[in-house]
Symmetry: C2
Subunit: 331 residues, 2 copies
């Protein structure tokens, strides 16, 4: 039997996540039972939501238990099957978690077509992050031609799709990202109209210059100081799809001072979790797949090599050190 | 011609409103022109939104200019008419502002029926505050039987209607108010299930005891520390109709720390201004008028005597010194 490397949750983080919050183990896979399928994972997705699962606090999803495999989406290839629905060589998407192999009765495994798209995009622009962008922008943001859409973490897996979709809908797309290099990428490669470098120290003035007609939609992935600055420049009837608060995931959230704008501008703010809106996934995935295959939605990946490097890559992502969708290559 | 006493905006408040921010003047009314109507106001309504009009900041309504009459709703009686639509003795509601008389071509004046209801309720439960409660609770909050509705400023003109409507819809109604006396009134007179005295110093624990199943709807009139405390006890898919932020009207708003709950619980927060939803007013006023006339919605008024006392009453209201709908009796 092959050996399966896994990353377990070893300790609940106190403040920032540390290497010692994880434990890497090698376990032998059991023999394949009748009706079961074995998938060798090619890529693991690292996403900000995973930080919440490491805590024991009330959240929308159950916490990962101590000693359990870390939660996560993966793509891989069927290497052995005793399940008539799957054949050796099939490519599948599943929530295997941080491990090299997935083995079960096929529950939650979804076949994917890699003839036109590289397998990894099913964890990014044509996967959960892409659908998050699509749902939040279109169903909550409800953009109208000519409106200004601002999105934080703009070079990331979700933000990059938000801005490119906004452009395709006739909006002005403004990104917020950390550093000149990410901002250049967002404007020059992804085609946003402008990008604000929040690390440059002129958040208010730079936002105003980038969104001179005010902000109609703020797609928020980060919360904190950027959210508080955006408040000051919202237009009447602005919408805020609230998708992530990465700035506060490790405690010490930046307090919001300018929230009076929510009343003054009659703002609609809606927190959401895309997995609760499965009815939109087929349409979203169809549109995103076709746009990515056609080159109308571009993306960038940060790929860490080997499962043993997943904790380090995850810690870096929480600090914004990744550039594009963070993946771990497992094979 | 009668003399018309008026309260003008003399200075923009710096921090808390002061008596010197107002100026009281007596002006002679011009003779009534053709098509015009003269109304002697009986009551002036004092409402938190007026604080915003005193500032020069961006807001949903134009600021009152320095030297202008303060904005405000009034009810009164036609004392002279050269307009065929109005007869002497008609009772009317209008936005005359802080003055004893209204005189114009009848624009914005609305006849009211005082045969079953006292004239003052058209400034309270059967007026703008009542419709605010009705719209925010029913159209934004969308309460379902058995849910828990929390409302701040619960003994006030808006809050008292929110809780009583919530009860009539089969919800648990929890008020938040300042002081034992107001809380007793909210529970014993208005029939709320519970009331939290935010001045008692145990906001978190008292809220938890009052809303043991968590909070599904928070109708917010105050913002600040109460809003931040409510965040911690929201249920999944909670709704927050955001109606007022009186706690921050004089600057120095309490910062929000617990807003992560908006994401974790997929909350919908909607700022609103009831005057932008006129299509709901006829239905709301019909329901509220019938409920008040039938004794199913109770109310309480704080009445200051004489226009010259309006500034003092207004400053008191901003500090929560009023108990029930704040009015000024003008005659």
């Amino acid at each position: 039997m092959p050996t399966n490397k896994q990353v377990l949750l070893a300790a609940r983080p106190k403040g920032e996540v540390k290497e010692s919050d994880f434990r890497i183990v090698d376990v032998e896979l059991p023999a394949l039972g009748d009706g079961e399928v074995r998938v060798q994972n090619h890529f693991l997705s690292l996403d900000p939501y995973m930080r919440g699962r490491m805590d024991d606090a009330k959240s929308y999803a159950a916490s990962t238990k101590l000693g359990e495999v870390m939660t996560g989406g993966t793509v891989g290839e069927v290497v052995e099957s005793k399940n008539p629905k799957f054949a050796k060589g099939d490519r599948v998407l599943s929530m295997s978690g941080w491990q090299q192999y997935a083995q079960n009765d096929g529950r939650g495994m979804q076949k994917i077509d890699t003839s036109k798209l590289p397998i990894s995009v099913y964890l990014g622009s044509v996967g959960m992050p892409g659908v998050t962008a699509w749902y939040g922008l279109k169903q909550i943001g409800k953009p109208k031609t000519g409106e200004t859409v601002v999105v934080s973490a703009a070079s990331g897996a979700v933000g990059s799709v938000v801005g490119q979709l906004a452009k395709s809908l006739g909006c002005r797309a403004v990104g917020v990202a950390g550093g000149r290099e990410k901002c250049d990428y967002v404007v020059k490669e992804l085609g946003f109209d402008a990008c604000v470098d929040y690390k440059a120290g002129n958040l208010d003035a730079d936002l105003m210059a980038a969104a001179p007609s005010g902000i109609d939609i703020y797609f928020d992935n980060v919360g904190g100081a950027v959210l508080d600055a955006v408040f000051k420049q919202l237009n009447a009837f602005a919408r805020i799809p609230l998708c992530g608060l990465i700035s506060g995931y490790s405690g010490g959230a930046f307090p919001l001072n300018n929230y009076r704008a929510l009343l003054v501008n009659r703002v609609n703010l809606q927190g959401f979790i895309v997995s609760e809106h499965m009815e939109f996934w087929p349409q979203a995935l169809q549109e995103l797949g076709s746009a990515v295959a056609g080159g109308r939605i571009k993306y960038r990946e940060s790929v860490a090599q080997g499962l043993e490097n997943a904790p380090k890559a995850f810690m870096g992502m929480l600090k914004g050190e990744n550039f594009g969708k963070q993946l771990v290559k497992l094979i």
